[in-house]
Subunit: 403 residues, 2 copies
């Protein structure tokens, strides 16, 4: 008998009407003989509302209590979905983080799942019950509620699939699957039927936003095939496999972008060992995520300029930290928070010569200036002015045969 | 060192601003050296909103899941209040029903607290921590979440006071205390400084609405003195003691009323043993609460009329049940859902002659017809037409020297 983990995101359970629709999806699966564990997010908007309340009290709200607060959202959805199934004469039951329990380690608001007790839920599945589990949370060794970071319901689903040896893990969301680029921006964007974990990782960390990266990483590590599909249509979704199982006819699978980036340059830094380390150490301590880093030699050959990108929201904090932790000498700090990151992703890139050249040529043809470049085996990213992003995506989507 | 249980109702924690105000009240208590356990309700409106969601799915929403759903409300308040205290540098921690745990027995949505583990919280109080506990909920022997009926946070507070041997139990609410009658209706209504448990029970079950009756009963049983006071003013509240400790100068302490009553009469019922039992048995099974019951002999002396009152919401259900469970013969069922119940309450009544007569005379003077009468040692209730209620309250309030 097939055992499936179905995960439903916030918009999929955003109203009681939608929850009843989700119950229908589960009913169909049960009728076709599958054993179902459903992992649910909080109703869309709920988590933000709770965060707003906590911010009204303190912007540095105690993290243990923040976890207690936020975990209530998925509890609500679990109860409502379970009640909706029971109303449809499907045997169902909500299992809260402490009732299973879902064991986590790591700090509050950023814990990770290390284990789950399977016995009780296994028995319940054997009695043909549908188990409804809250995503995004667990308990610590001390019995405190923990959350596993925002969007962590995907990670819960993958962990459940692994620990219960599920046959598949289906991520129900509000889009049809993973697209070759943003379908809201580029009408010719196409849904990708199959994609490798590696490509998916590059795409989701670059703004494809369909799934959380850490969940994809876990699925890759344990070789758990995923399927991302829409709650609201019956169309086929995107299957995410190991690379070996995918046949590549195209060098580039998708074009991704993120436009909440900012570029910071520190000029006139001494050109000697340890400078980069001294620059980034305080940023690391402050948990500011530095993305691309480029170091150029400046004209006088004694000093250098360091350029890097951070999320736009972090710009003022980053500059403040750099100024207050002046273990380095520099001339000035300049920034541009009107930049965007554009990437082409494809597991076939490494075996196809000329992809890099074709990308640079295409951007040049459109008179788009490249501000920074970074590459990996399956990805090529450039930083460009934000107002060029749409033109650039369109051009690359066309020249790499994705339309 | 004084150990206090402070309970804060839904309006007292109805916004983050109010929660911060509550945190200030607790801070003051801590500064004056008290050890504090705070019991909190869900934010005002939250429970109703959750019930609305469950009704959208099913009006007979599964009760186990309803408990999971509703208990989330107090979890939110616990976290927010605890976070607010920590922000003010007060050591504080939320303790959820399963973390303590609070053990209950009885059916879902209507369980009762039978015990709590005290060890961990006692230690925490000894380390000068403030423990924040959710009202209205617990867990069953099976580890399922249970709730103890609406308004049950009062019952939690009293149970906590008992189990932790607290020196006092203070019920913070949105009124200044218990009044001689409804201050919204009768401007001369006066706050009562001291009242006995018995009187309070009669008053709260009759619509004084300041505290849940079952909580007052428990406090009476274990002799736990209560104080009802306002979260929003610094005025003294109403102290609720055992009767022995109160000196009565007045025969009547207060005038209470409830206006959501309905009177049902079954006419032409055979006048023989078992008729009353056969009438009320199916109502009891359906958990319909029958209040006053009067039986009159009818003109032909072979049949009788049975009159009783129920909550107005239960009228149609009651009539349906009576018609479908016709173990009794009757002529017709008539009802009046425009009636109100008016009561005078006072532990001094029993020792003061003429109270009954004075009440009847006063109503007669106002030309108010009495539809039914019921008496107990400290209470005298009458059913009157609803539109007479205000006039009647005013009159009684005056003649019993309560203005």
């Amino acid at each position: 008998m097939v055992k499936k983990v179905l995960k439903f995101g916030g918009t999929s359970v955003g109203s009681t009407e939608r929850i009843q629709h989700v119950a229908n999806i589960i009913k169909k699966e049960v009728s076709s003989g599958s054993k179902i564990i459903a992992v649910v997010s909080a109703m869309a908007g709920n988590t933000n509302e709770l965060i707003k309340l906590s911010n009204e009290i303190s912007e540095e709200f105690n993290k243990r209590e923040l976890d207690v607060l936020l975990s209530s959202g998925e509890q609500v959805t679990c109860a409502l979905l379970s009640g909706a199934l029971i109303k449809m004469n499907i045997k169902a039951k909500s299992w809260l983080n402490w009732q299973i329990p879902i064991l986590t380690e790591g700090e509050h608001t950023n814990a990770r799942i290390i284990n789950m007790h399977v016995e009780k839920i296994k028995n319940y599945l054997d009695e043909d019950g549908v188990a409804i589990i809250p995503g995004f949370q667990g308990i610590s060794k001390n019995g405190d509620i923990t959350t596993i970071g925002r969007g962590g319901s995907d990670a819960t689903a993958v962990a459940v699939a692994k620990i219960f040896s599920a046959d598949s893990c289906e991520i129900y969301t509000d889009v049809d699957g993973v697209f070759s680029t943003d379908p809201n921006k580029i009408p010719v964007a196409k849904k990708i039927d199959k994609i490798s974990f590696d490509e998916m990782l590059e795409l989701s960390s670059l703004g494809a936003k369909v799934m959380q990266s850490s969940a994809v990483q876990t699925a890759m590590m344990y070789d758990i095939p995923l399927e991302v599909k829409s709650t609201f249509t019956e169309r086929k979704g995107t299957k995410i496999f190991n690379q070996d199982n995918i046949d590549y006819s195209k060098s580039v699978t998708g074009v991704a972008y993120s436009k909440d980036d900012a570029k910071i340059t520190i000029t006139g830094v001494e050109d000697k060992p340890g400078v980069a380390a001294n620059t980034f150490e305080p940023l690391n301590k402050a948990q500011i995520n530095v993305d691309m880093v480029i170091q150029n030699i400046s004209s006088d050959q004694k000093t250098t300029d360091i350029t890097f990108t951070v999320k736009r929201d972090d710009v003022s904090k980053t500059i403040k930290i750099l100024k207050e932790n002046a273990k380095i000498n520099y001339k000035e700090i300049i920034y541009n928070d009107k930049v965007a990151k554009l990437s082409i992703v494809g597991a076939g890139m490494v075996s196809t010569p000329g992809v890099t050249y074709r990308m640079f040529r295409a951007l040049s043809d459109e008179n788009i200036n490249i501000l920074a470049i970074s590459t990996s085996e399956i990805k090529l990213s450039v930083i460009i002015e934000e107002n060029n992003i749409l033109k650039a995506i369109k051009k690359l989507h066309t020249i790499f045969d994705l339309d």
